[in-house]
Point group: C2
Chain length 396, copies 2
């Protein structure tokens, strides 16, 4: 199987030894604590799960700038997105300021339980020039309207760096018992299935026929033994379909339209950054960590609005050095129903054009579903459409 | 580009120098002559076209037996099917018996013009044990009902062997000016198109949606720059669709359903042998010679009736030594319309089964077409169905 990124084996930061974890939980009760941002908590879950191997914790400013500028950790290893724990002045008590070890509290779980214990290597103040530089490099914009930028720009100016030990996976195991999986678990599952080549598909949406076909095309093109549908279970943009509905829709699609034992449906606990090309790279890193040999990067991968060109997230893979990643990329184009071909096609794979494609805007789709009408079969499988219809009617 | 079989460059036996060819035509007028079998004439066209590189002419009995037994020429090179010129006692005049060089007359062109001049290395009498052994090894049967066996068993018992110089391509250039191409021409065309990977598809039938999809799947799986649709223009079984109708139907399909400049439609002048696995190997040899990097071998390739198992023609490629061929095989399964998926699928690529597949027997298809009704869109593209309908109505 493909090796983890920059390591021989995964280095999950979850403390799996029960006694050791119990000891840490006890210790944490006595430690100064701080409620971290949702983004920092999500990073803790990714670090805990092995997805962010070989990172050991949160970056300091110089490492974050190195990553922003050169996509390299200070040790030279490829890494595309700064993983930071930034807090505001208000949150930073004197106890925390003077501590070596602190408890990180989870903002996403009621009662804010401890999610991790941190060795506080440094507390640095980041200048607005520095954070804007990091944001500009990471997102290609500092526009505060960008849906991912506020997670960096609006959380404060104190950078807490240092290694962490993670005590739980936040709300993900409880909210998504069938779907949330760590990189360690996915690797083990892939090994057990005996899959050699695995193509991973990132999704934060239910899968329509176009996505089904994109996965099937990619599977064929890379001769994959299996497809890893790997969905984001964290925070989305307002209006996005809730993870549970999406999960059900995806499971219906796989059950009805993929051969048995060719698809693994899993999810990971992270918030969308909408960082386009840089996020596509991060997505590739953690798919390599969970054992996928290939990763599908479609049009406008991890994009939002018009911030990125449709193929920026593909082209960046040609710009990084060849040894940056072991995982290979499958570059997808738009897939959609072609009225002349009478089937789903990938743009460029048939002689027809825009005028021959059958598409319905997301807004229109929501209207159709909210009205209790099924989506046309050119767009969605009936089993998928029904699940979405139920949801939209319930919120209409 | 992939190298020709057992040679650095193609060795077409067509005499391309006009003066030299004129001289040979003149010489042939004085030579003892013999009208060869349709199969031997077809072999001359294949030898002329470079498809049978590096052969220099017809095999003698010991070489034919070596090929039948071990799939090897006497020099050790891989070759799967004996290429022989067998004639009957009646045809063998005393002049031919005593000649060093003879003229071979074409049975398939009116007036039986000279097709080749042959250096007569040997005239051997083949015993019925020998020819039956060759037939058994080549066809897996000696059944005279087998549609390919008579071309070996019913042509006589005199084996004429030796190198040939070929003067024309028989009736193929005149009957199929847009489609008949030599291996030399196809190689040049592939080079001009700049295609590196080319997947070749053998057909003797019009292409239905299932065949279209098989080509598209293969193209994706091997990441081919182009598809070479390479059709047999020679003799078929009675009842098969005439080559001209098939040609028109295939061109309509490509025009309407493949992106521009991704398909080359060509044909070669050879008769079907219906030799199943051995013929699949021969098909692969001459696709390598025309510059294809990959060759599609579907179910029951080059088969007839129940003489071969559905995957025999694929499995034989696993049995030959690894260095026998440079061309790679794409192993296809059945493709057909799945009523549940609402699209063409390759068997095994969806979770549904036989009961969910939409198929119509060839007999039923002919009835539908002869009645002037279109084939259902699940079976054929409307542009293809119309061409076939016109033909079947014209012969009904």
């Amino acid at each position: 199987m493909i090796k983890p990124h920059g390591a021989e084996t995964l280095t999950p930061l979850y403390v799996s030894d029960d006694a050791e974890r119990a000891g840490l939980i006890k210790e944490a009760e006595q430690l100064p604590s701080i409620t971290v941002s949702s983004g920092a908590a999500a990073s803790a879950v990714m670090l805990a799960s092995g997805y962010f191997t070989p990172l050991t914790g949160y970056m300091n400013i110089s490492e974050a700038i190195s990553v922003a500028n050169d996509m390299k950790l200070l040790n030279g290893l490829f890494w595309p997105v700064p993983i930071m724990n930034i807090v505001s002045e208000d949150q930073l008590t004197n106890e925390v300021r003077s501590a070596d070890r602190i408890a990180l509290l989870d903002p996403n779980v009621e009662g804010n339980p401890v999610i991790a214990v941190m060795d506080l290597s440094a507390i640095e103040t980041i200048s607005s020039a520095q954070i804007n530089h990091i944001i500009e490099k990471t997102f290609g914009t500092t526009d505060s309207e960008h849906p991912g930028v506020p997670a960096f720009s609006d959380v404060g100016d104190n950078v807490l760096s240092g290694p962490i030990q993670v005590l739980n996976y936040s709300y993900f195991p409880e909210d998504f018992p069938d779907t949330f999986r760590t990189a360690v678990e996915i690797r083990a599952d892939i090994a057990e299935r005996g899959w050699e080549k695995v193509v991973a598909f990132q999704t934060r949406n239910p899968m329509h026929r176009a996505h089904e076909e994109l996965c099937k095309i990619a599977q064929k093109e890379v001769n994959a033994d299996g497809v890893l549908i790997h969905m984001l279970l964290g925070k989305l943009k307002p209006g996005d379909i809730p993870a549970a509905v999406r999960d059900a829709a995806i499971r219906a699609m796989v059950q009805h339209y993929f051969p048995e034992n060719t698809v693994s449906i899993t999810g990971y606990g992270f918030d969308m950054l909408y960082a386009g090309p840089r996020e596509a790279l991060l997505h590739a890193v953690f798919r390599q960590n969970c054992g996928a040999s290939h990763f599908i990067v479609g049009r406008d991968h991890a994009g939002a609005g018009d911030y990125y060109g449709p193929f920026d997230a593909q082209e960046i893979f040609d710009e990084i050095s060849e040894d940056a990643l072991e995982i290979e990329i499958f570059k997808g184009n738009w897939t959609m129903w072609c009225k002349k071909c009478n089937e789903i096609v990938m743009m460029g794979d048939c002689p027809h054009g825009q005028d021959d494609y059958f598409t319905i805007s997301g807004t229109k789709q929501r209207e159709i579903l909210a009205a209790g009408e099924p989506l046309p079969p050119e767009i969605a499988r009936p089993e998928v459409a029904e699940i979405l219809m139920e949801y939209y009617q319930s919120v209409a």
